[in-house]
């Protein structure tokens, strides 16, 4: 949950970083140069000895740093202060340095004291720097608690609610609750004091003891462990808080008898989440709320009052759990009259190893996790790194006094910070690229679409978890991946490829392998490209066909819609035309009615007598008015026939009867010109199914025509016959001049007039025969003409009998 840095020598190892934060080392150097710091060019002989070359010595090998970019940061020059005594790197990559009465932060570019530069923050001596989520930094000082969050600095003192000023531990549990523990109690802190200011929300009353807490630890299961001294009995106790309940473990049954009160030194959590506790001589593990002793080491139980003098048991039997799950305990052991360092390792398999050589490395050592699951032991004499078969010592700064190490810190950007009693140094580890070699034989000819290429990539620390691989296939798109996993290529297409692999360490140094060419040939069924070609071919054939069909369909629909719309418009136009004709004929007839009314009145002597000559003139007026009336009627009839609106009112009629009536009507006109109209036999002919008025109209027309074109004294014969085969024939023959053959075809055309043979007193409009033919055909009959010029003409038509028209 939270990480802390305690005063004194020691290391903090940062988790592996991603490639995105690799570029910070160089700006740091630039910034230092801007500050006028001259790099101390320390030439160190480096020899990176392989583990296999380990000697029998206690120090099996050395690991030297060629620190061409070693830089010293002088706080004396920058801030006129002594050397910092504590440093810390927060999770956002910012370095924090506790110096004198202030804290200085460095983001790689600028160095900035928390109080803005006066170096008079007055926070006292920083015992610990603790980071909680946010990131929020807590500086545990002897004057209280200082909190840095979102660029703001808050201070909590005793009169702000803290039990005492001397806060020993700040811890954040899994639920985000912050706890500050001091020698007088435990306070719950929250950021609800207005403007996000931290404030003490409550003081926890521990029901069973008066604790003097000196350590706190948040476990993965959500509990917070506190290690404290019980003042009443002057004995060390350990207790737990979880879900609002306090659990006093020192009083639980199952407490090992040899867990001596007053002699608890350190606690930690093993990889399984169990609590580990060291006492003077033993290592205990609390599993399933039961204590068990898992290791013992020779130690000296301090005098009972010693715990009170050194309540935090500094550097005594400290626990470190390394990445391979081993539990390391480093402390001081009584060796004769003096206290000497001791180091034990308890592997996960339960094997105990003692490293007596640590005794010669100098005092004030501490442990930290190193690269590749190793452990670094940092003493005033130097740094030792554990290896499989021994220890190797880091050769640091032969020309500079790098002894008297206080703290070593491997920053996330790959830099190595050294804090000694003499100064602050930084090795920008950006001069040497990482090692990168192919592991095994890389294939050059593949028969499947997936391939795996293993590499071995290590930075100068020999670790691969700080190295990021950059993989590019065929020079396209660089993909980053972890260095410890093989490079996996999927869905390779058949053909030639080349693979480029580079490795980038935390300092941004890059090593690139030569491009690796390889060839992929796939069996047919894995050839996605062939399938694609097949599909595309189908698409090229199918899609245009579908598109064309769809296009045709669309065009057809458009045409249909256009036709329908045109049809609607035509129907509208046709109706308008019919209405127009009907209206016009009505308007024509109205004055005609007046004319004929007055003419008839005059002719009949209404209003006075007229002379004979006047009568003749009036008759001419009347005849022309009648002609006009016929013309109007004919036009209307034609229009009705044309528009299909002529309704036939059919009944069973005898043609002979109709002809008789018409002949009777026209007889006076025939007599005027001595024309003989005779009607032949045919009264016994079958009846026809027809509109009597319309058939009368036909007879009136063709007999009237015959009268008109027959010279005086001529003959007209009307005949009605049947062929006994479903037809009734009627013919009107005259003895006129006849019709030339070339005109016979056109005689039924509208407005056609036979030229120059008019003998009657009135002309026709040339519409009568056309209407007759239409009317006959409306009755499913036919009409025609036979004529010989000089001999006369015969107009004939036939209609179906009632019987045949019903079938």
């Amino acid at each position: 949950m939270n990480r802390e840095r305690t005063e004194g020598t020691g290391f903090i190892r940062r988790p592996p970083v991603s490639a995105t934060c690799c570029g910070r080392a160089k700006p740091m150097g630039d910034s230092a140069r801007r500050l006028g710091l001259r790099p101390s060019m320390v030439c160190l002989m480096l020899c990176l000895a392989a583990v296999a070359d380990a000697t029998e010595d206690q120090v099996a090998s050395t690991f030297s740093l060629e620190a061409r970019n070693l830089q010293e940061y002088s706080f004396e020059k920058m801030f006129r202060t002594p050397v910092p005594y504590l440093m810390y790197e927060s999770s956002d990559g910012i370095m924090w340095f506790a110096v004198e009465d202030d804290v200085v932060r460095c983001d790689g570019w600028t160095w900035l004291p928390l109080d803005g530069g006066r170096m008079q923050l007055g926070i006292g001596h920083v015992r610990k720097i603790v980071e909680t989520r946010g990131p929020t930094l807590w500086f545990l000082t002897n004057a209280g608690l200082v909190c840095q969050r979102d660029g703001k600095v808050y201070r909590l003192r005793q009169n702000d609610g803290l039990p005492v000023a001397d806060v020993r531990a700040v811890v954040e549990d899994r639920n985000g609750q912050l706890w500050a523990a001091s020698g007088k109690g435990i306070a719950a802190i929250s950021f609800d004091g207005g403007d996000g200011t931290p404030s003490v929300r409550r003081i926890e009353q521990i029901p069973f003891l008066e604790p003097e807490v000196n350590r706190a630890l948040a476990a993965p299961d959500g509990s917070v462990w506190f290690m404290a001294l019980r003042r009443s009995t002057d004995s060390a106790v350990i207790f737990r808080h979880k879900s609002g309940v306090w659990w006093p473990f020192a009083y639980q049954s199952g407490t090992p008898e040899d867990l001596p009160e007053g002699c608890l030194h350190d606690m930690a959590v093993d990889p399984e989440g169990n609590l580990l506790v060291t006492s003077c001589r033993s290592l205990y593990r609390c599993r399933n709320m039961r204590w068990e002793c898992i290791g013992a080491f020779p130690g000296q139980e301090p005098a009972r009052n010693q715990s009170r003098r050194e309540p935090d048991h500094r550097d005594q039997n400290k626990i470190l759990v390394s990445d391979d799950g081993s539990i390391w305990v480093y402390g001081l052991a009584q060796s004769g009259p003096a206290m000497t360092a001791s180091l034990f390792r308890f592997s996960r398999e339960g094997k105990e190893t003692e490293y007596p050589e640590v005794g010669s490395w100098g005092s004030a050592a501490s442990l930290m996790r190193g690269p590749n699951a190793s452990v670094l032991a940092v003493t005033e004499q130097g740094v030792w790194q554990s290896a499989a078969s021994g220890w190797r010592r880091w050769e640091i700064g032969k020309d500079t006094d790098h002894t008297a190490l206080r703290q070593v810190l491997m920053a996330s950007n790959g830099a190595l910070w050294l804090l000694t009693q003499r100064g602050l140094f930084r090795y920008a580890m950006d001069t040497e690229p990482p090692q990168l070699t192919p592991k095994g034989d890389w294939p050059t000819h593949l028969h499947e679409a997936t391939a795996s290429f293993a590499v071995e990539a290590k930075d100068r620390w020999g670790t691969s978890d700080r190295v990021v691989l950059e993989v590019s296939l065929d020079g396209q798109g660089v993909v980053s991946q972890a260095a410890d996993a093989p490079i996996l290529l999927k869905r390779l297409s058949p053909g030639n490829h080349f693979l480029q692999v580079g490795a980038v360490d935390a300092g941004g140094n890059r090593q690139v392998l030569p491009a690796h060419p390889f060839r992929v040939s796939l069996p047919l069924w894995q050839r996605g490209d062939l399938l694609a070609i097949l599909l595309i071919s189908l698409l090229f054939v199918g899609a245009p066909s579908i598109a064309y069909a769809s296009y045709k369909h669309r065009r057809l629909k458009q045409s249909l819609a256009a036709l329908q719309s045109a049809n609607v418009r035509l129907q509208q136009a046709d109706r308008l035309k019919s209405d127009f004709v009907a209206n016009v004929s009505h308007e024509f007839r109205t004055p005609l009615t007046a004319i004929m009314g007055f003419v008839d009145n005059l002719l009949d002597g209404i209003g006075g007598s007229v002379t004979e000559k006047q009568v003749r003139s009036l008759e001419r007026v009347k005849a022309n008015a009648e002609r006009l009336g016929h013309l109007i009627n004919d036009l209307l009839d034609l229009r009705r026939i044309e528009s299909g609106r002529l309704e036939l009112h059919c009944s069973q009629i005898k043609l002979h009867e109709v002809a008789t009536g018409i002949i009777a009507t026209l007889a006076p006109r025939a007599e005027e010109r001595s024309i003989q109209i005779s009607l032949g036999a045919g009264a016994d002919c079958p009846m026809v199914w027809a509109d009597r008025n319309r058939i009368a109209q036909v007879y009136t027309n063709i007999i009237g025509n015959a009268l008109r074109f027959t010279p005086q004294g001529g003959r007209i014969l009307v005949e009605v016959k049947t062929d006994g085969n479903g037809w009734v024939y009627s013919a009107v023959s005259d003895t006129g001049q006849g019709i030339p053959p070339e005109e016979q075809k056109r005689i039924f055309d509208r407005f056609y007039q036979v030229a120059g043979v008019m003998t009657g007193k009135t002309k026709g409009a040339g519409l009568g025969l056309a209407i007759c033919k239409e009317l006959v055909e409306l009755h499913d009959g036919t009409m025609g003409v036979e004529s010989k010029p000089g001999e006369g003409s015969t107009f004939f038509f036939r209609l179906p009998t009632v019987e045949s028209s019903r079938t």
Partner: protein, 137 residues
């Protein structure tokens, strides 16, 4: 007292010619130029027969016909029109018309039908008339 004929006709000349003709038969005439005037005169003069045009300036002649028929179920009403639409005659007869006469009217046909409708004989007619059904066509 002479029989009275009410002519509802908006065309003055047509109405005048008809009046002249009808008065020559010894009947009295009255002319209304609109449908509304026709209905008013119907109440004033109590005609024996009405000759009604279909196209009138104010109202549809068929509506006027229905109104007249509503007031008097027995009054002979002739529709005299220049509209030769095939559907008009049935509609006119449905609305209560006794006769349907097309313009230009034939004087003899008109006289015969009027005299028949008002119960006068036709024997006094000295006019030479053509038989019905010979409307020029």
């Amino acid at each position: 007292m002479n029989k009275k004929v009410l002519i509802v006709e908006d065309e003055e000349d047509v109405a005048q010619a008809m009046c002249d003709r009808i008065e020559s038969w010894g009947l009295e005439t009255a002319v209304a130029a609109t449908g509304r005037a026709g209905l008013e005169m119907l109440d004033q003069i109590h005609p024996d027969i009405v000759l009604l045009d279909i196209r009138l300036p104010d109202r549809n002649g068929l509506d006027v016909l229905r109104d007249i028929r509503q007031r008097s179920a027995d009054l002979p009403i002739f529709v005299v029109t220049a509209s030769h639409g095939s559907d008009i005659e049935p509609r006119a007869r449905e609305a209560g018309a006794n006769e349907y006469i097309l313009k230009p009217y034939h004087p003899g046909e008109l006289r015969r039908k009027i005299f028949k409708a008002i119960g006068l004989g036709t024997t006094d007619s000295a006019e030479s008339e053509q038989s019905p059904g010979t409307h020029p066509g």
